[in-house]
Symmetry: C2
Subunit: 362 residues, 2 copies
């Protein structure tokens, strides 16, 4: 069992330092790794019904073998579980299962499960430790790292939440092999985003034909990028962390308008990045060939460069404007003038947004 290979990325933050382990065979060693971190007490593994069926028993067996009293708690798969109502329901089930202030949670699943379970860990009896076991590309390279947790409000995604850093993250790449093709591919939107904002050379190492089982080093490299940015700006105050929003302003608006589930998150972000590339190129000096390189990589992973026929560009523009209100009234937008770097600018106009969204028309 211990022959499995893994990479280790330390995340050193002012509030909490933790290890991210990336590799194969990690699920079956969950209990052992928790013990290594001196995590103690009763445990609940929060997952969704799909991931629970695939990986629940391996994780539960491992935690139980580690001497922990563990409960498996599944929520319905999908974005609708990221709600205050589900969070309250999970809290009530944890209390019924006897969890207390000395207990801990394990989040086993994709971004929805990680964000929901992280939020519950933040607010359950004013906070208990959390272990993240992300099972999708996005969760492994992005959402499980950095402590952002939360649920959705009526007006938009992730508007309710807390910063609550995990105590340990286990990114087992064998879980990627069970992902449906479309959900596998969407994850590369965030990977390509990392390349745009921080590491242009990463673009060339991304090969859609690469076997999923050999992704550990790509995943680990992306975790290191995310961890570095989080370290520079844990609480999202200096603006560094805002660079991770490249493509997300318009991407979130597209996701909102499409309705959760029509487009996958990564697909909406792919479109949002295309819009941000258009603005970056037209107004901030990004070479056309660089923008094209990024678009080609998105396309290579089957990610969309144009809106689906049934999405109206004007509605998306209105939703983007609405979203924009959420930062002190200033229009803040992440652009790249050179691949591998990004910055926040405040002089993107409504016209710029319109032209960019128009460029996505089918």
């Amino acid at each position: 069992m211990n022959n499995d290979h893994f990479l280790e990325i330390p995340v050193a933050l002012p509030s909490n330092s933790y290890r991210v382990l990336v590799g194969t065979g990690l699920l079956a060693r969950t209990g052992e790794f928790c013990a290594d971190e001196k995590i103690s007490g009763r445990c609940a593994v929060i997952t969704d019904e799909t991931v629970g069926r695939l990986h629940g028993s391996v994780v539960m067996d491992s935690i139980t073998a580690g001497g922990y009293d563990a409960h498996l708690l599944a929520v319905p798969a999908g974005e609708t579980s990221k709600s205050m109502a589900t969070a309250e329901n999970v809290v009530n089930r944890l209390l019924s299962a006897g969890l207390d202030r000395g207990s801990f949670l394990v989040a086993l699943g994709g971004g929805v499960v990680g964000d929901l379970a992280g939020f519950v860990a933040a607010i359950f009896l004013r906070g208990i430790p959390l272990v993240q076991i992300p099972t999708t590309i996005v969760a492994q390279v992005d959402s499980s790292i950095g402590g952002k947790t939360g649920v959705n409000a009526r007006a938009g995604k992730n508007l309710i939440g807390s910063f609550h850093q995990p105590r340990l993250v286990l990114a087992d790449t064998t879980t990627l092999e069970t992902l449906p093709d479309r959900e596998y591919r969407e994850g590369f939107a965030e990977v390509i985003k990392h390349a745009v904002i921080r590491d242009a050379a990463l673009l060339d190492t991304l090969k859609p034909s690469q076997p999923r089982s050999s992704l550990s080093s790509v995943i680990a490299h992306n975790i290191a990028i995310k961890a570095t940015i989080v370290k520079e700006d844990e609480m999202e105050r200096t603006g560094q962390r805002a660079l991770l929003n490249f493509g997300h302003t318009i991407g979130h608006a597209i996701e909102n308008v499409a309705g959760y589930g029509t487009l996958l998150h990564g697909e909406a972000i792919s479109l949002g990045m295309c819009a941000a590339l258009e603005i970056s190129q037209r107004k901030y000096g990004l070479p056309a060939s660089d923008a094209q390189r990024v678009r080609e990589k998105l396309l290579a992973y089957g990610l969309p460069l144009r809106l689906p026929e049934n999405l109206d560009a004007d509605t998306i523009l209105a939703a983007t404007r609405h979203d924009k209100k959420f930062d002190g009234g200033n229009i803040r937008f992440v652009v790249s003038s050179q691949l591998g770097t990004a910055r926040v600018v405040k002089d993107v106009t409504e016209d710029d947004l319109r032209i960019a969204v128009d460029s996505l028309r089918p």
Copy 2:
């Protein structure tokens, strides 16, 4: 206006330092004090319908006069507003009012409003600043100080929440003059608790006949006691902060069994303290005369020493046992062996609890 007198208690914590101002005429200077603290952005004043009618316009006028864009947002008065559903509803209303990450909240009211608004401030867009304006004795000397925020779960009070320290606390003692008599008196349960656990001399300074308008120094003294204990143990890890639970283990169980609203919080805590005094006296050496002194002071404020006829001692005992589960399985209980001091012990038995609850029978 500036002729009003106030006392200032600094609360210096690792996570955040803030001032608590105690005195008269503070409500009408809210905007000025917020500006002094360099608090900026759009503001929502969260209150309940009762307090909003009494004090809403003074606070709103002051904040508006301070140049802030302010919204008044009232929830129904009473414990049922301390729920996840109300928290979500408030978040949605804040978003509709255009509040963003640069905005702040003002909690104007008693413990329910302070805990609810504090929790919303903790989770709204992952946290925004909070100003507490407590309008009851309990809120002024206890719940507005120290950063505990939260709502109730099905299984009990305050089981969902966060630590979120305020940026400023304004305790205007003129608000106490509008409190109904019973709600005024219940507040002294926590004041008497402070005397038991930290400052026996405080007992003698408490005179039920003292005019409410002259309470500033008593309030300020109690805030200083609470602030000192919080400073020693902000996140409730060393056990110091647990001393504030004197009387609360059995008190919470009584409150649960009675149903919220039958007994006021302070009345249930008065009963819980009587039970804790019984255990302290019988098993931990508290002189009988000291226990009697405390009981007489509770009685002088019209607080109960015996259960109401319709509350069953056996049910309370069962509820206490259930509550006890929430701390790693150990039975932890706060006792006093000498007035003015308290400690957590782990050898209180189920028999001890039974005898103590029996001593409350009418």
